[in-house]
Structure formats: C-alpha cells, structure tokens
C-alpha cells in the first residue's frame, strides 16, 4: 500500500458536509482496472460503471449524493464548453478547458469542508463550482477585465495562480497558519504533472513535512504539460514523490469521482487530525487542448484520446446510476435543463461584463498608497482630460 493504512482507514469516514456517508451502494465488486498496479491506483467505479471495493478506501453515498456528483460534473462540463465557445466567438481571450478532469475536480472539491481552503491552478473550474464560486466570476481574467478579482475569503477559494507551482507554497504557509490557530481545517493545493518539476513544489513538500502542516497536495496528472508528456517530468509515478519527503502518496483513478472523493476525504481528515500532509495523484486526462491557444494535433495522436474517452468520468457514473436504478429519465432531463440555463447565464454574463475603467490600473497597486502611483495616476488623468478636450 502506498499510504499508511490505519490512518487511511480511520480517515475514510470524513466530515465533508456535502457528501456525508449514509448507506452502502449495491453490488460492490472486487474487480479493479488492469491498467495500473491495483495497489497503486485506487478505483471504486470502473469505466463500465461497476462499483468495486478497495481494501483501504471505502465510500458510502446515498443515491441523492451520487446524483449530486453527477449533476456537478455535467454542469461543470457544460460551463467549460460554454467558455470554450465564448472564446471562439472572441468574447474571451483564452480558455483552459477542464474537459476530462471533472471527476478529479468534483470528487476532490466535494470532499472539502466549508472551512477548508483551496489553492487552485488556472484550470480548477470544477473545484470552484464545488466551493460555490459563481462560475461567471472565473471568466473575468480570461476576458481581460481583471486578473482574478473574486474575494478568496468568500468561498475559501484562492485566486487562480498562473505561475506554475507557486501556489503550493501559499497553501503550505496557509496550512501552517491554520495549525498555529489550532483550527482543524485542512488546505488543499492543486497542481499539475508538469508543475511537479518546479522547485517550488518540492519546497512546499519539504515545508509541509517538516512542520507537519495540514495540507493535501492534489496533483491532477492529466498526462500532458502543454505538449510534453508526463515522462518529460518524471520516470516514476508521481505519487511516489511524497514518500521521499516523509509523507504518504497515493494514486487514484482521477476519472472515478467516487474514488477521488474517498481518497481526498481520507487525506483531508489525515491533515485535520494532525497527521500531516499527503499527496494525492489523480490519474486523469486532458481531453481538450491545453488552452484555446493550443493545437494538440501537433504532438499527440487520436488513439490516446479515444482510449480515454472510454474512461469518461461522467459516462461511468451515469451507467452506474442507471444500472442501480438510482436515477431516472426525469432526473437526467432536469439536469439537462439546468445545463441549458447555466449556458445562457454564462453567455449573458460574459457579454454584459463591463470593461474596467481606465483608471483601474492604478487601483490596488498598494493597500496603503504610494506617492509614485498617485503621481502617475494624476498625470494620466490630466493627459486623458487634455486628450478628450483636444478631440
């Protein structure tokens, strides 16, 4: 096993508010995907939609909760697709799609408690959804009206961080603060397979380990860092990185929302009960381009894509819900309706998003003001005024 087993067992019954354990799902089967060494790949739901058991990680969700996860994933995908379309239409400058990573994000996002704190990359639209961040808030930076701008403390969801890896240190420091406060919250730091190479990520492992900080490192290994496959970052599975820093790492099927939820919850509970950091590697796939600026046909073939399509995170949950009779046509229809409404809301929000005032670039450079900024602001205002007069 890749993670301290008694700790994991203890931690399986987490206290996440949205998905409290209730009753065992029907017909758990022992089959595990053959693709990975079963000890190194936690899976609870096969691509075919069959429930399987794992010796260390159990999960126990009501039909309602399972439908909730389904809905989360579908709406996240919808939002994402809408944003991609808006970029094509010129409404956004750029969009980094999460297509294919819905289970990794919803599973981990739903494992969190409200008082936990999230440090995302630039692709965590599904996690933002779970935190209750209005999806339209995410679009400002990609439209070029701000660099983020939502209040991180409203939803305990930090701003998107673009400089690869930096946020893992912020998460670790935040967790050190949580620890100093004597709180039992946990912190989660998202990062990618590419990010694993950055010195900052390694340093965050060191700090987290040395201070036993309550932080979960959640790596979405989506197989690619722009055009570079994971082999350009590591020659062994990424979850193994953690052991050498003195804390456990585990690889989970990142397209299995149940497994991700179970493992992340275990990791978070470990953190909040003083057992320190843990690394979760969600093994998943970036189905789309890196961003709308990217052309993946230059560096990867279609076979790979097709193979991963068969492992689609939404499809497998739908199959399971259907097979178990936990969702009917009416449910799926209602989600579809919500889907359309969300799409429209996003379109409308983007198109009516006001441009920032010119003077905004001088705002918030400093919290307590700065003479040079004041001087330049005044000069700019005067220039604008004179220019307006002239024209």
């Amino acid at each position: 096993m890749t993670v301290d087993s008694s700790a994991a067992r203890k931690a399986t019954r987490g206290s996440g508010k949205r998905t409290t354990a209730k009753k065992a799902p029907a017909k758990p089967r022992a089959k595990v995907s053959a693709e990975q060494d079963p000890d190194q790949f936690v899976q609870l739901l096969t691509p075919e939609g069959e429930r399987v058991e794992h010796p260390e990680y159990a999960i126990d969700l009501s039909a309602d909760e399972l439908r909730g996860l389904y809905r989360d994933m579908v709406l996240t995908r919808k939002f994402d697709a809408e944003a991609t379309t808006l970029q094509r239409q010129g409404e956004l400058g750029l969009w980094p799609s999460l297509l294919g990573q819905e289970a990794a994000q919803i599973g981990s996002g739903r494992a969190l408690r409200d008082d936990d704190y999230v440090f995302p990359t630039y692709r965590e639209h599904g996690v933002a959804w779970c935190r209750g961040v209005d999806p339209t808030n995410l679009l400002g930076m990609f439209r070029g009206v701000n660099h983020g701008g939502w209040d991180p403390n409203s939803n305990n969801f930090h701003l998107y961080t673009i400089v690869i890896g930096s946020q893992t240190l912020h998460a670790t420091g935040y967790a050190m603060g949580v620890q100093k406060d004597g709180a039992d919250s946990a912190v989660i730091a998202y990062f990618g397979d590419g990010a694993s190479s950055q010195g900052d990520v390694a340093e965050s492992f060191t700090f987290a380990a040395v201070y036993n900080a309550p932080v979960v490192f959640f790596c979405q290994n989506n197989q690619w860092a722009i055009s570079e496959p994971t082999e350009k970052q590591t020659r062994v599975p990424l979850f193994q990185r953690a052991r050498g820093y003195g804390f456990p790492g585990v690889r989970v099927d990142g397209n299995d929302v149940l497994a991700v939820l179970a493992v992340t919850k275990a990791a978070l509970d470990r953190a909040r009960t003083g057992q320190g950091p843990m690394l979760v590697e969600a093994y998943t796939y970036r189905m789309g381009a890196h961003t709308t600026s990217d052309d993946p046909t230059r560096y990867r073939g279609n076979d790979e894509l097709l193979a991963w399509e068969a492992k689609d995170p939404i499809l497998r949950l739908r199959r399971y819900l259907e097979a178990e009779g936990m969702a009917d046509e009416a449910f799926f229809a209602s989600v579809e309706k919500e889907d359309e409404a969300l799409g429209k809301r996003v379109r409308d929000a983007v198109r009516t998003m006001p441009n920032p005032d010119d003077m905004a670039m001088f705002e918030h450079v400093y919290a307590d003001g700065h003479a040079l900024v004041d001087e330049e602001r005044a000069q700019f205002a005067a220039y604008q005024a004179a220019f307006a007069e002239e024209n």
């Binding site: 590419g194 950055q198 920032p356 670039m361 450079v365 040079l372 900024v373 330049e376």
Partner: protein, 327 residues
C-alpha cells in the same frame, strides 16, 4: 544563405537558430515545448524534426533547472540557446541567471566561458492573461556579466541572434512578441551591424526618439505623423540594452537637442532613467529640454482590456514630443 524580401521576425529567428545549429554541432536549443510543438510561438518549429531530440530538448517544467543545466552544458563545451516561454516566467530562473550565469566567468578569472543565450518573448499588446506581457529587461541589464539585446525587425532578429550565439558571453535576447508576425527584409549574406551598436532608424533634426524592440514601430508612426506636422524626428533603435550605445545617442542628441525615450517597461527605474541620466551628463549644454520618458506605469501589467492605456502608443509619444518641443 538567402535573401528574403519579406520574412516575419518569428521566422527570421527560426532561420537564425537553424543556421547556427547547422554551423556548429555544439549549439543546442532547450526549453518547454520547443520540440514537437515548436514552442508556443512556433519559433523553434521544425528544428527538433531536423536536428533530433538530442539537440532540441523538451525540458521539464522548471526554469531554474533549464538555465542551471544549460550552464552545466556550457561548461562541457556546448552552446545552449534557452527558450523561456513568456517574460513573466523567467523569474524562477533569476537566481541561476544572476548569481551563476552572470558571474561565473569572472569568478573563474576568465578561465571558463558561458556562451548561453536566453531567448525571452517579451512585451504586451497581445491580449494575454497575467504574466504574458511584461518587459523585465532592466532586471537583467542592471546585472553585470549579462548582455541584453532586443531586435525590432527581421534582419536584426536574425543577425543579433547569430552574433549572440557566436559570442562567448551570456546574452538575454528579448523578442518583441507582438511583432513576431511583422514582416521585413533579411539578407543572410549581408555584413551584420555590430551587435551592441544602436542604429539610426530614421534621420531627423528636431528631436530624437530612442526606443527598442516593439516600440520602434510606434516611434516610426510617431515620426510619420510628426513629419506631417512639420516636425523632424530622428529615431534611434537602441538594439542593445547592456551595453547601451550612448555614443550614437549622444551624436543624435547633439544634433537634435531633444530626447524622448520610449519603452513598454515601467518608467520608474526603466532604461529611460539611465539614458536620461547619462545623456544629460554628456549633453548638458546641448539639451534644450529635459530628457522625457514614455513607458509603462508603476503598476502590475494590467488586464488586457486596459493594456492600450497602459502601453505607450502614438498619442502618448506624440504628447511627449510636443512637451519636449515646447521647452
């Protein structure tokens, strides 16, 4: 060897890399996504196919690692040309650049050489998200041991890179990314302009505009408009920011008696500050007006919907020209 009537800056750089790699097997290209993808701007397009993975190296996502290993390869006799994906992502490598790359030759009393070129697409006006539009050139130019250059046209793009790769010093080569697709002429057989010499890009008599990289084009537009208004503007394309060719600037200012410096980087402690200080000292009795500067503000590079206001443009430079002439 070829003469291009029109070639983009991006393609000229590609040609230059290709020429250098053909000429010298020790020349390597390395960086994130430089291989199959050909870089996010396609500047290294086709090079890996032709020179192999051993010479066009897709690296792990770690800028300090990229520059640090490039230093090691240079110590082994290679001549690495490193690509940093965007201006805002050079900072993880800053320590290696400042404390190692810049100082190692001096540390060794000249016994080892560090022929490493670091290519950085820089500057704004491409509608990008944060960290993709910055102009950090003075953070390198202030540091002894580095040379800092930036072309404004295809010929310079080609030749200055040739010269940088051929030289034995570390060079930071800033590429004006908003001009990547601008086309101009390139003669790969011509005699190149000396690497660190500025170039008078347009002759004039009333005022000198000093600029580099992406702002040269803006200044050309300014000069055009000013000419229509009867003002004769000279343009000096600096080309090199470390060293700066103050002699060419001085000659120009001794003639025009007025100088405006234009760059995208923030004015505060920008290259314009050094130019103003030094030209004022050299031309104290010639200047009719203080050296004026037009540049970015002391604020983070703004969201793209504001970048037109943030960046020096035709109007802002014209305004400075008028203010200078008003003295």
């Amino acid at each position: 060897m070829a003469v291009f009537e029109k070639i983009t800056i991006a393609k000229a750089i590609n040609e230059s890399l290709r020429t250098a790699m053909e000429a010298d097997p020790k020349v390597l290209v390395m960086g994130e996504d430089v291989g199959k993808l050909g870089g996010v701007f396609r500047v290294t397009d086709g090079l890996q196919k032709d020179f192999g993975e051993d010479r066009v190296i897709d690296t792990p996502l770690a800028e300090s690692g990229i520059v640090g290993t490039a230093i090691g390869m240079a110590l082994r006799g290679y001549r690495p040309v490193v690509e940093i994906q965007f201006d805002g992502f050079v900072f993880p490598a800053y320590d290696q650049i400042v404390t190692q790359l810049a100082k190692m030759h001096a540390r060794a009393l000249g016994k080892i050489k560090l022929p490493v070129v670091i290519r950085i697409p820089y500057g704004g006006a491409i509608g990008a998200v944060e960290h993709h539009s910055e102009s950090p050139e003075v953070l390198f130019a202030h540091v002894a041991g580095l040379k800092v250059i930036t072309p404004s046209n295809s010929s310079d793009a080609y030749w200055m890179l040739q010269q940088a790769i051929a030289g034995d010093d570390p060079v930071i080569y800033f590429e004006p990314k908003r001009r990547y697709h601008d086309k101009s002429a390139l003669d790969t057989e011509a005699l190149p302009h000396p690497l660190h010499k500025a170039r008078v890009a347009r002759e004039g008599s009333d005022l000198t505009l000093a600029a580099y990289g992406p702002m040269v084009k803006v200044c050309q537009d300014v000069a055009q408009v000013a000419a229509e208004e009867g003002k004769s503007v000279e343009i000096v394309d600096l080309r090199s920011l470390s060293p700066i060719d103050f002699d060419t600037l001085q000659s120009s200012v001794e003639k025009t008696r007025r100088l405006v410096v234009v760059h995208e980087a923030p004015v505060f402690l920008g290259s314009g500050a050094e130019i103003a200080a030094r030209i004022t000292e050299r031309c104290f009795y010639h200047l009719e007006a203080p050296v004026l500067r037009v540049g970015g503000y002391h604020a983070p590079y703004p969201p793209s919907r504001l970048e037109d206001e943030y960046l020096p443009n035709l109007d802002r430079v014209l305004d400075a020209v008028d203010r200078s002439l008003a003295y």
